[in-house]
């Protein structure tokens, strides 16, 4: 069958991912003998899972009304708002944390306002601060995934439903769409939060908020116990595998079928205008205020950035593009292969990178590469590869439901018309998946741009990327320049993201 090359390529990709993610942990394990867990490690595991579950629940629960309101209302600036809402997800973690603190911190805007009206200040630090930050990062992701889900519903189904009354609109249209997309979105968010490190620690308020990732950090840095790090990494993989399995159990393939690409204007229920307006305004304020803070804080020093920052920015841009191209190709291959054969293993391999600890991945790769080559010589390619790997799960999540719908609707027609290989990609797959492909590629480029990845472990002289330069600047007291470089980073990431996303939406039928 024409499927064979696709399935073989996907299998090889899965193998490569497993080698990178699991092989690196094995490389660490081989460095030392046995390892055991302390009570502190168990409480780290508990806290890690708890905060990830809470963050996931809130992100998803808030994304449903936000996406629905955005879907059924048309207002000036709607497109721009949807686009801007993608930004929090792309912020380097510490930049986002500082942005959030401008609003919710001890001397933030919120507390200043509370104080002005005589209410006791609130503290962001602790479990709820961690959840707040994770929702800030992930609500936009969930909203975008759901919006894409709405878009994938054929207008014909809405017309049918509009002749019925409202509750059935939810049951017959929205619920199947949510069953098809939400478990995947929740899975991504859960796994992102699972490996949270800087957010959990900085906003967690102290060692109570220790995550697995910090335990890994400690094992590798101060205790130099690679075996322990590998054991902790194995626990992360186990949680990841359990989450993927659980989410697959809850996912129902969308049964909404295909339509004729009629443009969809969802008629809003009467009398709920105020409710939607509140949801949209609250969502926009929640997501945009901290972004605005990042802008304000970064602007003053922007004209005075040292030349190294601009050099690093150029380097980061082309690395991001290379990484996005790699990631998109891999995700499309895996999503299509899974859509056709439905292999659980392929899906697991696509989600596996989310469970990988950045430090384990970097250290393991370092150990694997070093006997043969100087790490500096491969710093940039390795960083591109690892960044592509890290954005693969998001891309896969975006592409998979739509690849599945595409397969269900048009595979037979394509087969009947001998549409295979490149023509099929060009005339069927790319145009039909343009929207998620644009969004996904943009996401991958921006994530790669903003992610420190493994560059810190590999970089030699003159190889720094923009995130590394931001880190180096703030490590040398130069907080203003760091803020400006971070702003530059955010602006560049966002531009890459917006170009790809808009491109995808333009190209979409």
């Amino acid at each position: 069958m024409a499927d064979r090359p696709l399935q073989i390529t996907a299998g090889l990709l899965a193998l490569l991912i497993a080698t990178l993610v699991l092989g690196t942990a094995l490389a660490l394990a081989s460095q030392s003998g046995g390892a055991s867990l302390h009570p502190a490690d168990w409480s780290a595991i508990r806290f890690t899972i708890l905060q990830a579950l809470l963050s996931t629940a809130f992100s998803c629960a808030l994304a449903i009304p936000t996406a629905r309101a955005l879907m059924r209302r048309r207002f000036p600036g709607r497109q721009a708002l949807i686009l801007l809402m993608g930004a929090p997800f792309l912020l380097p973690v510490i930049v986002a944390v500082l942005g959030l603190l401008t609003i919710y911190g001890r001397s933030g805007l919120l507390n200043a306002a509370l104080q002005a009206v005589g209410i006791a200040p609130i503290s962001i630090y602790g479990l709820w601060g961690v959840v707040l930050a994770h929702v800030f990062f992930n609500l936009p992701l969930a909203t975008r995934i759901l919006l894409n889900g709405w878009h994938a519903i054929p207008a014909e189904r809405f017309r049918l439903a509009e002749t019925l009354n409202l509750p059935s609109l939810f049951r017959h249209i929205e619920l199947p769409m949510l069953r098809a997309t939400l478990p995947g979105a929740a899975l991504s968010i859960f796994l992102v939060c699972l490996t949270s490190f800087v957010v959990a620690l900085t906003l967690g308020g102290g060692p109570k908020a220790t995550t697995l990732e910090l335990a890994i950090y400690q094992a590798l840095r101060f205790d130099f116990d690679p075996g322990k790090a590998a054991l902790l990494a194995a626990i992360q993989f186990a949680i990841c595998t359990a989450a993927v399995t659980l989410s697959a159990r809850f996912t129902l393939p969308s049964a909404l079928g295909a339509g004729l690409d009629r443009s969809l204007v969802l008629r809003a229920p009467k009398g709920r205008k105020a409710q939607d307006a509140i949801v949209i305004t609250a969502g926009a304020l929640f997501l945009l205020l901290p972004l605005f803070a990042v802008l304000i804080e970064g602007l003053p020093a922007l004209p005075f950035l040292p030349i190294e920052v601009w050099q690093a920015a150029t380097r980061s841009i082309w690395m991001a593009l290379a990484s996005a191209a790699l990631s998109t190709t891999a995700a499309l291959t895996l999503a299509q292969a899974t859509a056709r054969k439905g292999s659980r293993l392929l899906e697991l391999s696509a989600m596996l990178p989310l469970s990988a600890s950045g430090l384990v991945l970097g250290t393991g790769l370092f150990l694997m590469v070093r006997p043969y080559i100087r790490p500096e010589d491969v710093a940039l390619p390795v960083t591109i590869l690892v960044n592509a790997l890290m954005s693969l799960p998001f891309l896969y999540r975006l592409l998979f439901p739509e690849a599945q719908a595409l397969h269900a609707a048009y595979d037979r027609l394509a087969q009947a018309m001998a549409l295979t290989g490149w023509p099929r990609l060009r005339y069927l797959t790319l145009p039909r998946l343009a929207r998620p492909l644009g969004l996904g590629t943009g996401l991958a480029a921006a994530l790669s741009m903003g992610d420190l990845g493994v560059i810190a472990l590999f970089a030699g002289q003159g190889q720094a990327t923009l995130p590394l330069v931001v880190q180096r600047l703030s490590g040398a007291y130069r907080m203003d320049e760091a803020a400006a470089a971070a702003l530059l980073l955010v602006a560049l990431s966002f531009t890459l993201f917006a170009l790809c996303d808009l491109g995808g939406r333009r190209a979409a039928p």
């Binding site: 295909a258 690409d261 048009y410 001998a418 490149w422 099929r424 145009p431 039909r432």
Partner: protein, 231 residues
């Protein structure tokens, strides 16, 4: 001759068997209630479902090794007969050459087919811009250009009104007669069968019966057909 030789098809535990043949140029209706396996048989013929046992032969040649696109058949599905993001010209162009490398002669053929179907000059329209009847015609244009000796119809016009459906079936009849095409049509509507088909195969209880002449079968309905037609 299309010959189903001790053919058995299985989908999710459901088995359907057929063992008969029809002459080239026959218009055959597969008649039966929903869930009886009419579409299953059609998908087996089209090559989307490999036989559990038995063979499908066309002019004495076993089709088992052929992919759907390689079979001497064109098919119209219940829906999704055209790619909604492509124009009519592109949709029809794909039928001539999946790589879309079209010669001037190809373009002329597309225009000619559109003229024949009453869709003159609509090359650059997308399916969503067409009425239901026009979409049905455009889909017919696609199979016409594929120019295969067998045409499989999986109730493609079921969503249209009865008058429109009758029009399109008449058109299919004319086109099939012009080219000597063998047509196998799935339907649950006995009226379609009487209007369109030379022979009828009853599909019921996991068996696709031997074809009978349409007039004969309705003049003296077998028990299964009587049960289906109701009192």
């Amino acid at each position: 001759m299309l010959h189903l030789d001790h053919l058995t098809l299985t989908v999710d535990g459901f088995r359907l068997s057929a063992d008969w043949s029809i002459e080239t140029g026959t218009k055959l209706a597969l008649l039966g209630g929903s869930g009886e396996g009419k579409s299953t048989l059609l998908m087996g013929l089209a090559g989307f479902l490999p036989p559990t046992s038995g063979r499908i032969l066309w002019q004495g040649r076993d089709l088992a090794a052929l992919s759907p696109a390689e079979r001497p058949m064109a098919i119209l599905f219940q829906d999704q007969n055209l790619f909604p993001h492509l124009t009519l010209g592109q949709n029809l162009g794909l039928a001539l050459n999946p790589r879309m490398k079209l010669t001037a002669a190809d373009h002329a053929r597309i225009a000619q087919v559109l003229d024949r179907l009453g869709l003159s000059g609509m090359q650059s329209r997308k399916p969503a811009d067409l009425s239901g009847g026009q979409q049905g015609r455009a889909a017919l244009g696609r199979v016409l250009l594929q120019a295969r000796p067998i045409l499989l119809l999986d109730e493609p016009f079921a969503a249209l009104g009865p008058a429109l459906k009758a029009d399109l079936l008449a058109l299919v009849s004319d086109l099939a007669a012009e080219a000597g095409t063998t047509v196998v049509m799935v339907t649950h509507d006995p009226a379609d069968a009487t209007r369109f088909a030379d022979q009828v195969v009853l599909v019921h209880d996991g068996v696709a019966d031997t074809p009978l002449e349409t007039k004969a079968i309705f003049a003296d309905p077998p028990a299964a057909l009587r049960a289906y037609l109701g009192p």
